[in-house]
Symmetry: C2
Subunit: 479 residues, 2 copies
C-alpha cells in the first residue's frame, strides 16, 4: 500500500496563488464574501455550477440505492454531549442557538432574556447524531438493513480564517449516512461511495484525484477508517475533495442503533458516512483556472455556448440579432453529455468587448461573436476557452454556421477531455519519484519540509510505502 | 372585485380532521416529528414528493427569467433591527445564535462564555434584509434592472403550536426576490409569480386555488400589497398555499437599493418577494387524502406504478420475479408528463398484502400485484389509487400486459385529471352563495362565525364584494 505525500510550493507561475484564487472567484462572478463573518454569497454563475454538480451526483447517489431525506438544522446540545463522550478530538467550534425571541429593551433590539431556551440548540456541523437517533427508531430487524440515506443540506462550522468555497462557516453539501448488518457490508459501502466520488470528480469535474486512506491523525473523529479523494491544485498542494468514513459501531453504540438478526439476537449496526461540498467548486477553480480567469468543464458550465451579438446601434443590428437567435435555437436542440446544449444569447446592454471578457473570465467553454460580416457569409466566429491564446493573441476560429452547429457537441466533449488531460498530466508529472522509507523521504524533502510552507521550493509529490493504521484488516483494496 | 371568505366546519365526514391529517402524514411515511421541538424529519417518500415539486417549479421560475443564488443562513442582528424600524408588526420569534463554541465546564458541555458573539446572529426567517443588502451593492444603473433572483433554502420561525408540513419551526421553501425600476414593472412581476403559483398548483398538485389579494391586516409586514393563492381543504378551511408581495420602496429605502436612471438621477428600486414551501405537501394531503391514506397526483408521485410480486417461497417465485422485472423495465421506458414513468419493483422481504397496503397508504397512483396466474396468462392485476373501492370492497382490474404497459401514460393523466376535478367540484360546490354587503354576510353566517371555529356548522364559502385596501390603483387584474 502506497500513499502520495504532498510537498508544497508553486507548480505554475503565480507568485501569490491565494490572491490569484480569490481574484478568479470574484472575476468569474462565482461568489462573494457576505456581511456575515465567514459566510459567502453564491452568485448565479457559481450556483449554476453547483446545481449541475448536484444533479449529476444526485443521480449517482440514487442509482447506488440511496434515498434523499431531510433532517433538522438544529441538534439538541444533549446529542452533541453524548457524542463528545464517545468521540475523541471532537470539534467544539459550533454556532449555538440560545434564545428564541428578540425584544426591544432600552431602545435596542436584543435576545429576550425571558425567551432563553432550556436546552441550547447547535446548528448542525454534520448530522451523524440527529440521523443516528432516527436510525435507532427506524431499524428493528435485519430486514430494515442496509438503510441507505442521503441529505443535501447547509452546515455550519465556525472557522477563524475563511476562503470562499474552500473554508467558510456555512457551506452546502450532501451527507450520506448508512447502517449495515456487519463490518464487511459497511466497508463495501464506504469504498463504493469513494469510487462514486472518484468517478464523478474525474468524469464530470475533469479533476483527476488520488483515492486513498487517511492516516489516524487525519481521521474523522469517531471513524475507524477515513478515505478521501485528493486532487493536486496548481500550487502543488493537495485538496481533500471528498471523504468516506467507516464508523464501525461507535455511533451505533452511542445511539443504540441495533437490529435483531436471524437468530433473534440484538446487535449493533455498522455505520458509514460520506460527503462532498461546495468546496469542489474551489477545486475546479484551482485545477482549471488560468491567467484569464476560470475555465469550466462543459459538463458543469451553466452556459456551454454564449453568443455575443456585435451591435453598433445601426439598422443591420436587427439582422445580426435574428441570426443569433436562430443560432441559439439550433444549438439548444443539440445534445451534449446526455442533455440539451445550454446556449445563451447575451443581449445585455453593455459593449460587446466587455461581454466577451465577462464570459472569458467566467469560463464559458465556447464564446461566439457575430457581426454583420458573419451574417453575410453565414459564418460563425468563435473562441474556445480551453485554448484561448496563441502567445499573447486571442485565437479566433471561423466556421460555416451549419458545420459549427453540428460540431458543437464534439467540441464540448473535446474541451472536457482536454481539461482532464492537462490536469492529469500535471498530477502525474509532479509525482516525481518513489522513495523506499522515511529516511529517503526526509533526505529528498530536506529539513525545510517542516518549516513555513510557502518558503519551500516545490519538489513534487512522491510515492512512499505506508504503514497502514489499525483497521487495515477491513480494507479490501481501497487505497 | 370580489373575495372569497372562508367559513369553517367539515365538508367531509371526518369528525377529527387534524387527527386524520396527522395519521395520513404518518401512515403515508411522509414525515415524522423530530426530537428537536417544532422541527420535522422529512422521510424519503415525503422528500421525493418535494423534489418533484421543486423540479417543476424551479423550471417555471427559470423560464420566467430568474437566477438561483444562495445567501447566508445567518443574518446580523443589526439588519433585523434596521428592518424593525421600517416595518410595523414585524415578528420577533426567531432563533438567535449567541455563541460560537462549546466548552466542558464542571463536567457539563455548554456554550463557552468566552466565545460569545459581539453581535448575535439570527437564523433567517426570510431573506429580504440579507438579499436587499446584496442588491444595494449589485445595482448601479437601470441596466442592472430588473434583477431577478430566487433561492431554495431552509428558514426558521419559532412556532408554539406546530403541525407537520403546515407549521414547523424549520421548513424548506423557495423565496424569490426582485428589484425593478418602477412600480408598474414590480407589480407585473408580483402578479406574474402569483400566476406561476396558481398554474403550478392546479396543473402539478391537482389543487384548485383562488388567487387574490389579502386584506391589510394579513399583509406581509412591509408589503404594499400581498397576494396569495388559497385552496379549500377537506375540512372547509382555506390553506394559504403561496404568497407574492409587492414591497413598494420600503425595503429599498431601508437598505439603500438605488439605481441611476437615464437622466443620471438616483431613485429607489421597487422590490418584490414571493414564496412557496413544504407546506404545499400538507395541502396535497388535505386536498387528496381519503380514508385509506394519501392519494398522490401522478405528476408528484415518486413512484407512479409499484409492482408487488406475490411470492410464496415456491419454485414459481422465480418466474413471477422475472415477469415483474420485465414489466418494470417496460414501464420505465414509457413517458408520462414529459418524463420517464417512475416504476418500482417492491422486493422488500415482507408479506405482499402488507406491501399493497403500504403503497395504498402512501398514495402510489397504480399498484400492480403479480401472481403465478398473471404470469401464466400474461396478465396484469392492478388497482387505481384514486378509485380504490367499490363500496367496502377494493376494486381490482385485470388487463393483458401489452395493453397495460401501453395504457399506463393515459391512466396516469386520467388520475391526475380526476383528482383535480374532484377537488375543483368540492371547491365550487362549497362556494354556496353571493352576498351583497356586510349585513348579508353577518346574517348568513350568524354570530357564531366569530366564535370557536370547530363549534360552527360549515356553511360554505361565499362570494362578497370587497373594499380593496390602499394600493388598489396599482393592481391590474390580480384580484
Amino acid at each position: 500500500m502506497q500513499r502520495a505525500l504532498s510537498a508544497t510550493r508553486m507548480v505554475g507561475n503565480r507568485p501569490n496563488f491565494p490572491e490569484w484564487y480569490q481574484n478568479v472567484v470574484r472575476e468569474a462572478d462565482l461568489a462573494e464574501p457576505s456581511p456575515v463573518r465567514g459566510s459567502m454569497i453564491i452568485k448565479p454563475w457559481g450556483y449554476g455550477v453547483w446545481e449541475l454538480m448536484q444533479k449529476d451526483l444526485d443521480r449517482r447517489i440514487k442509482e447506488t440505492g440511496h434515498d434523499n431525506c431531510y433532517f433538522p438544522l438544529f441538534i439538541p446540545l444533549s446529542f452533541i454531549a453524548k457524542e463528545a463522550q464517545h468521540v475523541e478530538g471532537f470539534a467544539k467550534e459550533m454556532a449555538v442557538v440560545t434564545h428564541h425571541r428578540l425584544k426591544m429593551i432600552d431602545g435596542k433590539l436584543q435576545p429576550d432574556p425571558e425567551a432563553k431556551l432550556e436546552e441550547p440548540l447547535i446548528v448542525r456541523p454534520t448530522s451523524e447524531t440527529i440521523i443516528g437517533d432516527a436510525f435507532s427508531r427506524w431499524i428493528r430487524s435485519h430486514r430494515d438493513l442496509p438503510l441507505l440515506i442521503n441529505q443535501w443540506a447547509n452546515v455550519v462550522r465556525w472557522e477563524m480564517r475563511t476562503r470562499l468555497f474552500l473554508r467558510t462557516a456555512e457551506f452546502l453539501w450532501q451527507e450520506g449516512h448508512t447502517a449495515h448488518a456487519d463490518a464487511e457490508d459497511a466497508m463495501k459501502e464506504t469504498l463504493k461511495m469513494l469510487e462514486v466520488y472518484r468517478d464523478f470528480s474525474e468524469t464530470v469535474l475533469a479533476m483527476p484525484v488520488i483515492p486513498g486512506e487517511k492516516s489516524a491523525n487525519e481521521r474523522f473523529p469517531g471513524a475507524d477508517n477515513t478515505y478521501s479523494i485528493e486532487a493536486m491544485m496548481q500550487d502543488g498542494k493537495a485538496l481533500q475533495a471528498g471523504t468516506s468514513h467507516y464508523l464501525g459501531t461507535h455511533f451505533a453504540e452511542a445511539q443504540n442503533i441495533r437490529f435483531q438478526n436471524d437468530a433473534g439476537e440484538l446487535s449493533y449496526c455498522h455505520t458509514t458516512s460520506w460527503g462532498v461540498s461546495t468546496r469542489l467548486i474551489g477545486g475546479v477553480v484551482m485545477t482549471h483556472g488560468d491567467d484569464d480567469g476560470l475555465r469550466l468543464p462543459p459538463a458543469i458550465a451553466p452556459r456551454q455556448v454564449v453568443v455575443v451579438p456585435m451591435l453598433r446601434g445601426k439598422p443591420e443590428d436587427a439582422e445580426v440579432l435574428a441570426f443569433c437567435e436562430t443560432l441559439v435555437k439550433r444549438l439548444s436542440e443539440q445534445t451534449a453529455f446526455g442533455e440539451r446544449v445550454r446556449a445563451l444569447l447575451d443581449t445585455k446592454d453593455i459593449r460587446s468587448a466587455e461581454k466577451r471578457w465577462n464570459w472569458v473570465r467566467r469560463g464559458a467553454p465556447l464564446i461566439v461573436e457575430i457581426g454583420p460580416r458573419d451574417v453575410a457569409g453565414a459564418n460563425v466566429t468563435y473562441m474556445r476557452r480551453e485554448d484561448l491564446r496563441d502567445g499573447d493573441k486571442v485565437r479566433s476560429h471561423s466556421q460555416g454556421v451549419d458545420a459549427f452547429v453540428a460540431n458543437v457537441p464534439a467540441m464540448l466533449s473535446e474541451i472536457q477531455a482536454t481539461l482532464y488531460r492537462e490536469a492529469k498530466t500535471r498530477l502525474d508529472s509532479n509525482i516525481t519519484r518513489d522513495v523506499k522509507n522515511l529516511g529517503e523521504l526526509s533526505e529528498y524533502f530536506g529539513a525545510a519540509a517542516a518549516d513555513d510552507d510557502d518558503a519551500v521550493e516545490f519538489k513534487g509529490w512522491v510515492r512512499a510505502p505506508w504503514s497502514a493504521p489499525t483497521g487495515a484488516a477491513l480494507r479490501d483494496g481501497g487505497n
